[in-house]
């Protein structure tokens, strides 16, 4: 399985990348939504998963999700918002825009893997 991690923080991309890498994912990274759209366009086929921060420069995560959902060829991508935005109205907005899951920072690796397990997106058994 493949995942794109979209976060302006290199540290957060590294943390999420380690969690997903240990679970068996091949990882691509982008520092903002616009860069992530370019990454998706450069892939031969869409990844199974995109983990998307909300607050980023250039293009934020909500706009990125909206753009992805406009493209039928990317319909199969599962979109997980991974963000500090914890208010209920933000969660509702993200889900309405097309996010499938929502993970609030700070989070643990176990919490992320549990979300992926619920989505049927754990490529390897991790003991969760």
């Amino acid at each position: 399985m493949r995942a794109v991690i979209v976060d302006d923080s290199r540290a957060m991309r590294r943390i999420v990348g380690r969690i997903l890498g240990d679970a068996g994912y091949e990882i691509s990274e982008a520092g903002d939504g616009l860069e992530a759209l370019a990454v998706l366009e450069g892939l031969e086929s869409p990844p199974e998963l995109a983990c998307v921060d909300w607050n980023m420069p250039v293009m934020d995560g909500l706009t990125f999700i909206t753009e992805v959902r406009k493209r039928p060829e990317w319909r199969s991508i599962t979109l997980m918002m991974v963000t500090t935005e914890s208010e209920q109205d933000r969660i509702v907005r993200a889900l309405a825009a097309g996010a499938h899951e929502y993970l609030i920072k700070p989070f643990t690796g176990e919490a992320m893997l549990e979300k992926l397990d619920l989505l049927g997106l754990l490529p390897t058994s991790t003991g969760v």
Partner: protein, 148 residues
């Protein structure tokens, strides 16, 4: 408005304790008021909050502490070497997550800015900040309302 719904020290400390515990695998304790907090040079991270309360959160720590925080966050040992951009980014992200927790606890709708990190040679005075521990070292935290 900058005072009616201002985040207080207890709220910010609770957010720091949560982030220290879940992201850095460390505990945050209030720094003893009578204990000196030595500092030569370090990093200062800032993030803006906009909403019913307008202002910024500021976190200042020694360079070595910043490197330790980044190492704990990234699972990198002291001998593995972290480049300065990685340290700046990690400290900024720590404050970003603290800011997100604080924002979520404030009344009304607020917006969080993007974190900025710079090098500093002085820390805020104890009257302008509260201090939490990173291991045996101090980390200075300020809640700074916009000027009226």
């Amino acid at each position: 408005m900058t005072s009616a719904s201002a985040p207080d020290e207890a709220l910010v400390l609770a957010a720091i304790e949560q982030v220290w515990g879940s992201m850095l695998y460390a505990s945050a304790e209030p720094w003893p008021a009578d204990r000196p907090a030595e500092f030569e040079s370090g990093l200062q991270a800032q993030i803006e909050l906009r909403g019913e309360w307008n202002g910024r959160l500021v976190l200042t720590c020694d360079s070595e502490v910043a490197t330790q925080i980044a190492g704990a966050m990234l699972g990198v040992g002291p001998d593995e070497g972290l480049e300065q951009p990685d340290v700046h980014d990690a400290v900024g992200e720590v404050l970003n997550v603290v800011g997100g927790s604080v924002k979520g606890a404030l009344p009304g709708t607020s917006a969080l800015g993007l974190p900025g990190v710079s090098e500093v040679t002085a820390v805020p005075s104890r009257g302008e900040s509260f201090v939490v521990s990173w291991g045996d070292a101090p980390v200075y935290v300020q809640i700074v309302p916009d000027a009226a």
